[in-house]
Each structure stands twice: as structure tokens, then as C-alpha cells.
């Protein structure tokens, strides 16, 4: 390595190649799942306005996923401060390769989806935007590094970029109406200006951090800390180790999911009050969007709640502090699971109560009349709310149990393996089977998947029981809970049979995952604690 740029690029690639590959798969997983399902049902219609909305959302998911991976791969800028290089050089050779990777990933993903599904995703516009947006967000993060302004500044920049992107797909106040197929000269000028401004901001921010200057706090942070302290200060003793550990779990991780729900709902409310102010949209977004948010947050919440690693290293391996608590694995796992339950429950209540009070009740009682309201809202609320809770619980706790193993390779393998299997099945069905055979094949896959879920859950319970990590009452209670969920599913189908049998069997199998964490969590914890 003869030059600084070469060294920095080599470091980025060698450090993060697998992670970036994983993030590419993660970002593409959702479109692959959705488009595969739609194609199976023969409902793939890229020209439809719903597909434009879907593209607009999915492209942002991809951008966020890969961008997050890239930002983590860039690592702390402070590690480069001691190098004999100008700040502008360091910034340029951190930003440029990251932007190039971001753009290439977006282009490759869009091209691949277009080739496989024929969905007409535009290549250039979103890819250029993603690269520029990454530079703007990273620059803002460097500017506000280690200050309380960071989340606010990043939120503001992301919102501004989101608004600009939205205008490329039609009017700001409407759903996206067309694809961003042509990058105009003005688009190019805007993107260049944002990139140039980002570079300048980044150089300024990094220079300031490099010489040790800090942001003025204006007392806001100290005031916030005083307020939160006076609210949470409790000098009394914990009544038991379990009480202390519960406090620890909630303070460290538990509040994250409810906090995210509040934040997203407030942002949504702000966006709605600025751009729409249409009651129908408010109700639909609060009700339907909130349910989806609960499940998506489960992905984030699971990783947070299952994190047992130290705060000092990029490792999920359990740190000495937690590992040396004089507490059995079974008890520690119970407390972590209880913390997950509190977190998911609080997040759900924070969404479900406003959803009921502000949407379902006013419409049902005729307080407001909205003839064009999506009928799904009024028809489904009695099962939609509990299903959102069960879905969020299942996603959160299963992912938390996986994270609790402290083995990133396992997560990596499961994710990649699942993705590869899904892709393989899709390709096989697409190219090797006739239309009739496809239906039978996918039914078989669903039923097989369901069987695997049930078998895996049974195995987990057997292992946990054999290692005395759970008691017999837990096994029976879990079985009862699963039976109750199945009974609920059967009752719904008897009253209103909407789902095909194969889908019902698949859902029944997946419901086993709702109780799997009762055995999986202590096993995962024990596996992480003692290696």
C-alpha cells in the first residue's frame, strides 16, 4: 500500500466485505419475498400505482439497510486522526468509496430485481440519490459526533432528503405517481450541491473533532439529565437480585422499542399535519401502518433486547460484567424474556390505544363519517390488533434469542442460508415447474416449513428441559399457549374461511415460534455465557 487512499479503500473492503454482502441480501430480501409472493399469485403488475408506492418504500428500505452496514463498516473516524494526512484527504477517501459502494449496490439490486421480476425499477436516479444521501447523513454524524444534537441533526437531514426524494415521484402531498426514470440536469445539480455541501460539512466536523473541540451544549443536555434523573432517582435497595437485573435490563434495552414507537408516531403525526391533514389518511396510517411498524420494530428490538455483549467492542459475546452475575442461566433468561415482554407490550399499547381511540372508536360510533375509508380497518380491528401483538412478540423474541447466542456467524449463516434457500426454491419453481406444479410445490414448501418450525420448537424444548433450564410447567404452559393460538386461528377460519389450507398450516407452524423463545432464550444465553 503506497498511498493513503489505497490504504483506506483496502481497509474498508477487507473489513466489511462480508457484512456488506449480508446487508445487500438483507436489503433485497423484502422485495424478493414480496415480488415472489405476488408472482406466485400472478399479481405482478409493475405499471400499477401500488407497485410504484411499493418501489418507493422498498428502495428506501434497501438504502437504509445497506447504508447502515456501510456506516458501521466505516468505523469511528477518530482511529484515523493520528495518521499523517490532511483531514480533507481522510474525509474524501472515507466518503468516496462508501458512496461508490452504495451506488453500485443500489444499481445491482435494481438491475437484478428488474431482470428476475421485470419490475421496472429505475436504475440511475435512486442509486445516485442513495450515494449522496449517505454522504449527507455521514457528514452530519461526523459534525455532531458525541453530542446530544446527533439524533436531531440526522433526523432533520434524513427528513429533508426524504422530502426531496418524494418530489421525484410526484407531488409531495400524494402517493408516488410515477417512477423516477429520468435524472434531469436540475436533479444532477441538486445532487452535486448536496454532495459538495456534505463534503464541506464533513471536513469541518472532522477537523473540529480532530483538534478536540466540542459542540456547545447550551445546558439542554444537563437539563434533560436532571429531569430524567429526578424522575428515575431511587436510592432504595433492590428487593432481590431479580429486581436489580430487571431494572438493568429495562434501563439498558427495554425502553428502546416503546421509545421508537413514540418517535415514529410523532414523526408520522408531524408529517401528516404538514403534508396531508386528511382524516382518512390519518386513520389508515395509524391503524395499518402502526401494525406493520410493530412487526418491523420487532427486527430492531430483537437485536437490541438480545444483545448481551459489552459496550466497548463490536462483539455480541457476553461480557464479563453480565457473565459474572451470580444468577443462574434459567433465571437470567426469564428476566430477559420478561423484559422483552414488557418492551413489546409497552410498544404495542402505545400504538394500540391511540389506534383504538383515534380511529376505530370514532368511526364505529359515527363520531366521524368517512365513506372512503379502507373497509379493512373496520372489518379487521378485532383480530388485527392482537395479531400485531403476537407478530411483534414472535419476531422480537425469536431474533433476541438468536442474538443472545452471541454468535454473529450463526445469524449470518441463518440469514444467508434462508436467503439462498428462498432464492433456490424460487428459481426452481420458476424454471423447472409448470403453472399447476408450482401451486402444489409451494403448498408442499409451506407445509414443510410449518413442520420444520414445529419440529425445531419441540427440539428446543427437549434440549432446554434436559439441561434443566426450564421446568415442566413451562413446557405445559407453552403447549397450552400454542394450542390456544391454533384454536384462535381455526375459529377465525371456521367463521370466515379466507386463507387456503396450506397457508393455515404454515401459520400454525409459525405460531410455534411464538412459544419457542421460552426454551430458546435460556439455551441461547447458556451457550453464550459458557463457551
Amino acid at each position: 500500500m503506497r498511498t493513503i487512499p489505497a490504504a483506506l479503500i483496502w481497509e474498508l473492503f477487507s473489513r466489511s466485505r462480508w457484512q456488506l454482502l449480508l446487508m445487500t441480501c438483507a436489503g433485497s430480501l423484502l422485495p424478493v419475498l414480496i415480488y415472489s409472493a405476488l408472482r406466485t399469485q400472478g399479481a405482478l403488475a409493475p405499471g400499477d400505482s401500488a407497485f410504484i408506492v411499493m418501489h418507493f418504500a422498498l428502495v428506501q428500505v434497501n438504502m437504509f439497510t445497506f447504508g447502515a452496514g456501510l456506516m458501521q463498516s466505516l468505523g469511528p473516524m477518530s482511529r484515523l486522526y493520528a495518521y499523517p494526512a490532511r483531514t480533507s484527504t481522510l474525509v474524501a477517501w472515507q466518503l468516496l468509496p462508501a458512496m461508490a459502494l452504495m451506488m453500485l449496490e443500489m444499481m445491482a439490486t435494481s438491475a437484478a430485481l428488474n431482470a428476475v421480476y421485470g419490475v421496472r425499477w429505475p436504475i440511475w436516479g435512486p442509486s445516485l440519490f442513495a450515494a449522496v444521501a449517505l454522504s449527507a447523513v455521514v457528514a452530519t454524524m461526523w459534525l455532531t459526533e458525541r453530542s446530544a444534537w446527533l439524533p436531531w441533526a440526522v433526523g432533520l437531514v434524513a427528513a429533508a432528503l426524504g422530502i426531496w426524494l418524494k418530489t421525484r415521484y410526484g407531488l409531495l402531498s400524494n402517493h408516488p405517481t410515477h417512477y423516477w426514470t429520468v435524472v434531469t440536469v436540475w436533479d444532477g445539480i441538486w445532487l452535486s450541491l448536496i454532495a459538495a455541501a456534505s463534503y464541506s460539512v464533513a471536513v469541518y466536523g472532522v477537523s473540529r473533532n480532530r483538534r478536540g473541540d466540542t459542540w456547545p451544549a447550551w445546558g439542554a443536555r444537563a437539563w434533560l439529565e436532571r429531569v430524567s434523573e429526578s424522575a428515575s432517582r431511587d436510592n432504595g435497595r433492590f428487593q432481590s437480585p431479580a429486581a436489580a437485573q430487571s431494572w438493568f435490563e429495562w434501563r439498558k434495552k427495554g425502553w428502546a422499542m416503546p421509545g421508537c414507537v413514540v418517535f415514529v408516531m410523532l414523526m408520522g403525526l408531524l408529517g401528516w399535519s404538514i403534508f396531508s391533514r386528511e382524516p382518512r389518511l390519518f386513520i389508515e396510517q395509524l391503524f395499518l401502518g402502526g401494525g406493520a411498524l410493530m412487526c418491523v420494530l420487532g427486527l430492531l428490538g430483537g437485536l437490541i433486547l438480545g444483545d448481551c455483549g459489552t459496550q466497548n467492542y463490536y462483539s455480541a459475546e457476553m461480557g464479563h460484567f453480565l457473565a459474572t452475575r451470580p444468577m443462574s442461566n434459567a433465571r437470567l433468561a426469564q428476566l430477559m424474556l420478561w423484559n422483552s415482554a414488557k418492551s413489546v407490550g409497552a410498544a404495542w399499547l402505545l400504538w394500540a390505544i391511540p389506534a383504538l381511540l383515534l380511529s376505530v372508536v370514532p368511526v364505529a360510533t359515527g363520531m366521524i363519517a368517512l365513506p372512503d375509508l379502507d373497509p379493512f380497518v373496520m372489518q379487521s380491528w378485532c383480530w388485527y390488533l392482537p395479531v400485531a401483538l403476537i407478530g411483534s412478540w414472535t419476531i422480537t423474541t425469536c431474533l433476541a434469542a438468536l442474538a443472545m447466542t452471541g454468535r454473529q456467524k450463526l445469524l449470518f449463516t441463518l440469514f444467508f442460508g434462508g436467503f439462498a434457500v428462498l432464492l433456490g426454491l424460487n428459481l426452481f419453481a420458476e424454471y423447472a415447474l409448470s403453472q399447476d406444479q408450482k401451486l402444489t410445490f409451494w403448498r408442499g414448501v409451506f407445509i414443510g416449513f410449518s413442520g420444520l418450525m414445529v419440529l425445531g420448537t419441540v427440539l428446543l424444548f427437549a434440549m432446554a428441559r434436559r439441561r434443566a433450564l426450564i421446568g415442566t410447567p413451562t413446557v405445559w404452559a407453552s403447549l397450552a399457549a400454542w394450542s390456544a393460538l391454533i384454536a384462535g386461528l381455526v375459529a377465525t377460519q371456521v367463521n370466515d374461511p379466507q386463507l387456503p389450507l396450506a397457508a393455515c398450516v404454515c401459520i400454525g407452524g409459525m405460531l410455534a415460534l411464538a412459544v419457542a423463545p421460552f426454551a430458546g432464550t435460556p439455551l441461547a444465553l447458556a451457550w453464550n455465557r459458557t463457551r
Binding site: 432481590s240 459496550q311 464479563h320 459458557t530
Partner: protein
């Protein structure tokens, strides 16, 4: 010399033929070690010798691939409550939750240990000059070590385990740590196990020492015995020699011509008799520091 059963006192830690591999690297190779109750046990070794791996086995964070570990007569993996409840531990990386305040950390840790001594904790906090409102994240390296030491000591553990406690710390903090070790053993029957590669510290406070090198215990003995039985002897021979003659108990040798200096393991009388047998005169004899013993043992 490498007697794995060095004391008649009941063992606090009993490690028997433990082997541990990480991939192709053998971190511990058939290690047998007993830490008797009472006193200070120093575990010394170079970087990567296996000290932390051994300590992790004692804490139940690693399961032996072969052999067994017992702490207070219990398996630390199967019974973490029974073992960890009697251990105070300060890790090398001072793993403490950054988001907690010092006062919160004390309140939280107190819940786990019925023997937590509030007065002693407060005494330590004052002595270590720790602000209970300070966030762990904002503490300096030395303050962090002191905070870790406070929560490890305040429940008056039967076994205090310190993994490289002085690593990277200034002399004042190092003195605090040594003071804490001395205070702990002042309590009847308490035991300190501490690993270090700062041998002057070990020499000052340890009663017994185990030297670990490349995953093997190469020496276990009381400190006095080590000093008594390791000597530097300079011999003068009647004629110039190209290579030094073999001396019983010699660990290493340097010199040339008629004068050769040996680092030996043996008592003074035995060494003199061995020198007489070679026809040499002892021109100088001195006891060794632990540092010299360690280097000679590791190199031999």
C-alpha cells in the same frame, strides 16, 4: 517443584488436567493447579500465556474441553450462583456498563450479594475519590479500575480474582489495588488470585506463585521457596572452556573462557557440591528476583 498440591489448606480452586483449544491454538494444555484457601496467589505469564483463559474457566465462562474445574468444591458452570456469589472479580478490560452512574452501579451490585457491606463500600468510594453521580462512561481508566475494584471488594468475597489489575494504570491506582489486596487478605481465610505480568507487584504481595507459559504451568511454589531455590552462581574453571559443563539444576548459562554464570534451580549446598564435582570454584552466588526466575523458566 511444580507440585500441584502445594498446601494442606482446603482448596478454593481445584483445576485438574484442564485442556482448552481455540481452533488450532492450544490455550491450556493439561493444566493442573490448586489455589489453597487464604493468602495471595499470583498467576504470572507473558501475553497470550493462558492466564485469562484459566481465569475464565474459574468463573465458568469457559467449559473445559478436558479435565475439570471446581471452585469452593462446586462446578462453576453448573452452579454459577454458588460460586460467583462468593467471588469478587475485576476484569482486565474493566467491563462495566457505561450508561450507569457509580452510585447506581453500587446499588445494583449490592442486590446480588447478601454480604455487601455498605459502610465498607462507602469507605472505599471515599478512599478512591469516586463521585456517585459520575457516569461510568466519563471515568478515566484509573477511575474505572477503582470502580470495578470497589464493586468487587465491597461484598467481602471469599475469593478475589483480579485479571491483570494494574495493566496500563498509573502508580497511584496500582498502589490502591495492592492496598485492596492486602486489605482483603487481612480478613481471615480470604483468598486473592491475581494474574499479572508486572512481576515486581507479584513479588511484593504474593505468597504463592504459578508460572504459566504457552498454556502449561511450568512452576507452582510458595514465593519464599522460589527465592530460596533459584540462584545465580558464577563458577571459575581451571582452564578455558568453549562450552559450559552441565551443572545439575541449571536452567540457563552465560559467559565464556574460565568464568561461566548459571541460573540454577537448587539449594545453595547442593549447587556448591555440584560445582566441586566439576572442579570449579564458586566466585559469586546470589538469589534471584522473580523477574529473573520467570525469564529463566520461560526460556528454559
Amino acid at each position: 517443584m511444580s507440585d500441584p498440591f502445594p498446601s494442606s489448606a482446603p482448596a478454593v480452586v481445584h483445576i485438574s488436567r484442564v485442556t482448552r483449544q481455540f481452533g488450532t491454538k492450544t490455550a491450556l494444555d493439561d493444566v493442573t493447579l490448586i489455589v489453597p484457601r487464604g493468602g495471595v496467589f499470583g498467576l504470572i505469564g507473558g501475553n497470550g500465556a493462558g492466564k485469562t483463559t484459566l481465569i475464565k474457566h474459574i468463573l465458568g465462562m469457559l467449559k473445559p474441553q478436558a479435565g475439570s474445574v471446581q471452585v469452593f468444591g462446586l462446578d462453576p458452570v453448573a452452579n454459577p450462583v454458588g460460586t460467583l456469589g462468593r467471588i469478587g472479580y475485576l476484569s482486565e478490560d474493566r467491563d462495566l456498563p457505561n450508561w450507569m452512574r457509580v452510585g447506581e452501579l453500587m446499588r445494583y451490585t449490592r442486590a446480588f450479594f447478601p454480604n455487601w457491606d455498605d459502610a465498607y463500600a462507602e469507605e472505599l468510594r471515599t478512599a478512591f475519590d469516586l463521585d456517585p453521580q459520575a457516569k461510568v462512561q466519563t471515568l478515566s481508566r484509573g477511575q474505572r479500575a477503582r470502580t470495578g475494584l470497589l464493586v468487587a471488594l465491597a461484598h467481602r468475597p471469599d475469593l478475589l480474582v483480579l485479571d491483570e489489575p494494574s495493566s496500563g494504570l498509573d502508580p497511584v491506582v496500582r498502589r490502591d489495588i495492592l492496598g485492596a489486596i492486602i486489605r482483603t487478605i487481612a480478613d481471615e481465610g480470604r483468598t486473592v488470585l491475581f494474574s499479572s505480568h508486572l512481576l515486581d507487584e507479584v513479588e511484593r504481595v504474593a505468597d504463592r506463585v504459578a508460572i504459566i507459559h504457552q498454556g502449561r504451568i511450568v512452576l507452582t511454589a510458595p514465593m519464599d521457596e522460589i527465592k530460596d531455590t533459584h540462584r545465580r552462581v558464577t563458577l571459575r574453571f581451571g582452564q578455558s572452556l568453549d562450552r559450559p559443563p552441565t551443572l545439575v539444576g541449571a536452567l540457563s548459562c552465560a559467559g565464556g573462557g574460565t568464568e561461566w554464570t548459571y541460573i540454577c534451580n537448587g539449594e545453595s549446598g547442593q549447587l556448591r557440591r555440584a560445582a566441586d564435582a566439576l572442579g570449579a570454584t564458586v566466585v559469586d552466588e546470589a538469589s534471584l528476583s522473580l523477574d529473573e526466575v520467570f525469564v529463566s523458566r520461560v526460556r528454559s
